[in-house]
């Protein structure tokens, strides 16, 4: 079979990959890079948890501060934010809409290079200048202006990653507008495509803001301009505003494509069309637009007027509504479906469960009175790990198991994947649920040490981190073995109805012999 892997073009070896403009090759390279950074980030997380069962035994406080910062930066900027769009989006967007490639293949390659440059710069910031930074992933001023660690380089790396993100956004949005196959009307597009579309706009609109704020930090560090330094008449709260105006929409950059994946997986494994297609589509657009207006809820205790606080809290509750609609639609799709609990479905159901816990605890801290009690505690850490890892992470694993046969043309061991899932699920809840309890009892986040009454909670959480790491090891060893020794995958192992399942596994160069003509919706199960 003449798959895209065998089509090397005029170049050989590494160059045939790095210089390729094939969206599928770029997607596979992104996937490899993302998973490498994810494993580094996870390893750092496990080390942090190790410190917290016996503070000071394994590392000093300074090291701990650098570790939690690097954990956050690597997981967020190198894994979760680019995450699903650059890997599965790149690989499957053209396949799903019946196109041969994205609209700007060379810009696509440029965003991949920019991503690599940003990641390389980020990793070198660990070793040059003042070394790994210790500001936390939020770079809050004025500390980020004063610390001797290498903030400028890391921040510049995030700046470059931002450009990569904007270019990907422009590319995807244009592709969806211009390259749909004949008959692929807006309301016949698969839901994953819709979420990539909404995400694309968020990337284009929000990312310039963080680019500007990070440039201001660099200017302030090199030239001493006082934008955010109070001793020079600047305002640190201004930085917090600018940071969250980007970083809250960024939460939806992470989550919308994750929701898209779930909307693909659930109909296939319930053998039923999605319940309320249009409701799912418009709730994605609603999340993308209302998500811009809630950034202030990160700063309820930073000093802002009561009126702003009430308004931000209210909008925060509003933005929960479309997410609720989606959850209800997924559950309603399962109703009277012919459910098959294969690994992708297990991860998708886990997403619904964990994301619901993450979302509802988000409302707990979005309410003003409880926020005062819980702000800056482990409750927050528990909440966003349920949303980021329980949401985006589980969806990423669902996508990986769902599309693995198509991307690599191999099948993995279903049994080992399920064992891995079970271990991961147990570890996840041990690790992060205990954080809710710790935080509710007053354990502040980012602390290196704590009074003895918090020991039990930290112990349970650290044991959870070992179980979770074991689960991930089982899952990924399964996939790596399958990559080399797995049995050949059929073209359509799950019985999916979308276009990517109608081409061979792995897909040929340029995807389609003849561009298909679309006559019906994406989930037409009888």
């Amino acid at each position: 079979m003449n798959s895209f892997y065998t089509n090397t073009g005029p170049r050989q070896g590494v160059a045939s990959w790095m210089l390729s403009t094939d969206h599928k090759k770029i997607g596979v390279m992104y996937l490899a890079a993302l998973l490498s950074f994810f494993s580094i980030g996870t390893l750092i997380g496990v080390l942090m948890r190790l410190n917290l069962i016996s503070p000071g035994t394994f590392m000093g406080a300074e090291t701990y501060n650098r570790l939690f910062t690097m954990h956050g930066i690597i997981q967020i900027f190198l894994f979760i934010i680019p995450g699903i769009p650059v890997s599965f989006g790149n690989f499957f967007l053209p396949l799903l809409i019946g196109a041969r490639d994205v609209a700007f293949p060379r810009i696509n390659r440029l965003s991949w290079w920019l991503y690599l440059a940003g990641a390389g710069l980020m990793l070198s910031s660990l070793f040059f200048g003042g070394g790994a930074l210790d500001t936390g992933w939020t770079f809050y001023a004025p500390y980020s202006i004063k610390t001797r660690t290498n903030v400028s380089m890391a921040v510049f790396a995030v700046f470059i990653l931002g450009f990569s993100s904007i270019l990907t956004g422009i590319n995807f949005v244009t592709t969806i507008h211009r390259l749909r196959a004949p008959g692929m009307k807006w309301h016949r597009m698969p839901l994953f495509v819709w979420t990539l579309y909404a995400t694309g706009w968020v990337q284009i609109l929000a990312t310039p803001v963080i680019a500007i704020s990070l440039l201001l930090i660099i200017l302030e560090r090199f030239f001493g301009l006082g934008f955010f330094d109070p001793s020079k008449g600047g305002d640190p709260v201004l930085f917090e505003h600018m940071f969250w105006i980007y970083s809250h929409p960024a939460v939806y950059i992470m989550l919308l494509p994750a929701m898209g994946v779930i909307s693909e997986v659930i109909p296939v494994f319930a053998r039923k069309t999605i319940f309320g297609y249009k409701a799912v589509v418009y709730s994605a657009l609603a999340i993308a637009s209302v998500g811009y207006l809630v950034w202030g809820h990160h700063m309820f205790t930073s000093g802002m007027s009561d009126t702003s606080r009430v308004v931000f809290s209210f909008i925060t509750f509003i933005v929960a509504v479309p997410s609720g609609i989606k959850v209800l639609n997924w559950v309603a799709t399962l109703y009277k479906g012919s459910i098959k609990l294969d690994t992708p479905m297990l991860f998708a159901l886990t997403f619904i469960f964990l994301f619901s816990i993450g979302g509802l605890t988000g409302l707990v801290i979005g309410a003003l009175a409880t926020n005062l009690h819980l702000h800056g505690t482990y409750f927050i850490v528990g909440h966003f790990h349920y949303v980021m890892f329980g949401g985006m992470g589980m969806s990423f694993l669902a996508a990986l198991h769902y599309w693995f046969p198509k991307m690599f043309g191999r099948m993995y061991s279903e049994r080992q994947a399920k064992i891995g899932w079970l271990v991961l699920f147990i570890g996840f809840n041990l690790l992060y649920f205990s954080m809710f309890v710790l935080g509710f009892n007053g354990m502040p986040r980012r602390y290196f040490d704590y009074p003895p009454q918090y020991f039990t909670g930290h112990l349970v959480s650290t044991i959870g981190s070992w179980v979770l790491a074991t689960g991930l090891a089982i899952i990924f060893s399964n996939l790596i073995v399958a990559l080399f020794r797995g049995p050949k995958a059929p073209d359509n192992p799950w019985g999916g109805k979308t276009l990517e399942w109608q081409v061979p596994s792995p897909p040929p160069h340029e995807n389609f012999g003849d561009i298909p003509v679309i006559t019906q919706g994406p989930y037409s199960f009888e």
Binding site: A61, E62, N65, A99, R100, A103, R106, I107, L110, W113, A117, L121, S125, G129, G130, P142, Y143, I145, K146, R148, N150, S152, M153, I160, I170, T174, H177, R178, L179, R180, A181, P182, I204, L205, P208, R221, F222, F223, G224, F227, P230, S231, K232, G233, P236, T301, G303, D306, R309, L368, L372, G442, P444, R446, Y447, F448, D449, Y450, P451, I515
Partner: protein
């Protein structure tokens, strides 16, 4: 494509800048020089000792060395007694937090407040003491919180040792950082504790300290174990006059409007141009 390549090359050339140790930027930043020079701020000196032989006046006007007052871990606050802004808020927060602690004042720790205004007298110190002891609650032993005044020379020795920079200003006496220093019995700096500000649902500004932070610091001080300050959002007491901020916000407005306009035109272009037909016939 050429343009993109040029951009990429330009970015590569600008990278070596970031490999430099950022000496230029840092030297210009406020560092902990003592006395009236430099910008107000804290340059943390965790692990170093403060001069316990420095001499101060107590509330009765008797001279005393710090050593005579350091019998147990000490929570030190540096303010001036005629301050009408942050200092009273900080001291009330100390009084309230001390009331909430399970640790016993006078047994597990002492509170010491030193004025960095050489014009303060034992009389003003006595008045301050009466106020705050009352606020801390009836059971608070008066001996466990000392209010000291001193000469310029001794004040500067202590400020220097804890890394505080304060600055006289015309509008309200002094601009100065607002933080507590927790010290061991030997005068070793264990940790800096910063206030958290919560003016939730209240127009009156209120400052609070986390009893958690204080307990942890005092327990560490008893063991002589130095720690790492977490709440680095340092509060300052200074008159704020937002000069020239308008220009900044105007730049933001204009650049924001331009970016938004570009994005909207992009969207309109996509809508009008419709689907690409050429690609399908290949």
């Amino acid at each position: 494509m050429k343009l993109l390549l040029l951009m990429l090359i330009a970015a590569c050339f600008s990278m070596p800048v970031f490999l430099l140790p950022e000496a230029q930027g840092h030297e210009a930043l406020p560092s902990g020089s003592s006395g009236a020079s430099g910008d107000p701020g804290v340059n943390e000196r965790v692990g170093q000792n403060i001069p316990l032989e420095a001499v101060f006046y107590d509330e009765q006007g008797h001279t005393t060395t710090l050593r005579q007052l350091f019998k147990r871990p000490v929570v030190l606050s540096l303010v001036y007694y005629s301050c009408d802004r942050e200092c009273p808020l900080l001291l009330s927060a100390v009084a309230e937090a001390a009331g909430e602690l399970k640790l016993k004042p006078g047994k597990d720790y002492s509170l010491i407040t030193i004025s960095f205004d050489p014009d303060d007298t034992p009389k003003t110190a006595r008045e301050a003491k009466e106020n705050y002891i009352k606020l801390a609650g009836g059971a608070f032993p008066a001996d466990a919180w000392r209010f000291l005044t001193g000469t310029n020379e001794n004040i500067n020795r202590v400020l220097e040792a804890v890394g505080f920079t304060v600055k006289r200003d015309e509008i309200h006496g002094f601009s100065h950082p607002v933080a507590l220093v927790v010290l061991s019995t030997e005068g070793k700096i264990i940790r800096y504790v910063y206030e958290t500000e919560d003016n939730f649902f209240s127009s009156r500004k209120r400052v609070a300290l986390q009893p958690f932070d204080l307990t942890l610091s005092i327990q560490d001080a008893a063991k002589g174990k130095t720690g790492f300050s977490i709440k680095r959002a340092l509060a300052y007491c200074f008159p704020h006059e937002p000069k020239g901020r308008e220009a900044f916000f105007n730049i933001m407005k204009i650049s924001g409007a331009i970016i938004f306009f570009l994005i909207v035109s992009f969207f309109v272009y996509l809508l009008l141009s419709g689907r690409k037909t050429r690609n399908r016939q290949e």
